[in-house]
Amino acid sequence: MVKVMVYPPTSMILADLVERTGHEALVVSKEVRKKVNTPGLDSPPLNMTPEDPKKGLKYAAVDVPSGVRGRMSLLGPMIEEADAAIVIRGDDCTLGCTGCARTNELTRFLLKTKRIPLLELKYPEDEFQAKQFVHKIREFLEGLN
């Protein structure tokens, strides 16, 4: 069983496809779950402990926007834990109120410099693309064994 990081880290489709093949999907909700029962945190991940910014500072400098550092405090440990990764590129949901373009770039950069098997895709727009999408992911995940 290989730990596969999925990006967007909240992606249901990617997490499901990874777990279908018997691997473990690294998703942000598992990180949030660790914090949900932490005393003193009203609403994770919006609230942080004094330890979280320190984790974020490991990946992004102090002058980088705090949103990036906050996100990296959750994503950074996942990247370190990952043995492989599947990344969706150019999706609307990774921008705006539901995402952060700079975090996307930094995450991709860190995954690439880690030299782990990495699959980059786009969400399908029609049936042909969907068949290729599922096939590529299955081949990639089976290759990890």
Partner: protein
Amino acid sequence: MKSTKYVVTSQDSDVLPSDIALKIYELGREINVKETCFGVIIDGDEEEIEATVKEIRAMDPSNIFIKDRGFPPGDPRRCRGHRGGGARPGFYMMQHESEILPLISRGLDAEAKGEEVPPEIGTKKRPSLEEMEEMIKEEFS
């Protein structure tokens, strides 16, 4: 350790959230089930949840999708009833992906049947400077 999962059905699926809930009740495990418009939220011990997930997935393998959730169902920090309404955090991503689920289901069906994958269509590429020069020469010579 407790675990919470979303079980989401694709629009093509004949399985209703109430069918999934009934199936879980039949199993007789100590699991909290919350029915929603898109599927169900299940919460319980990690081992029991893992075993239940396998049985739920077997109901319609290519149309049922499962993902982890950080908060337990009905948590006042996420529940809309306690927060004065509005979409809960995470709703937009799920809404966005739900629109693609029928396509993914068809992809999974094709994989299960062992259908041949359609060849990739070549991406549109901008001509290089040399190609542009050749094209201009051909056109105006």
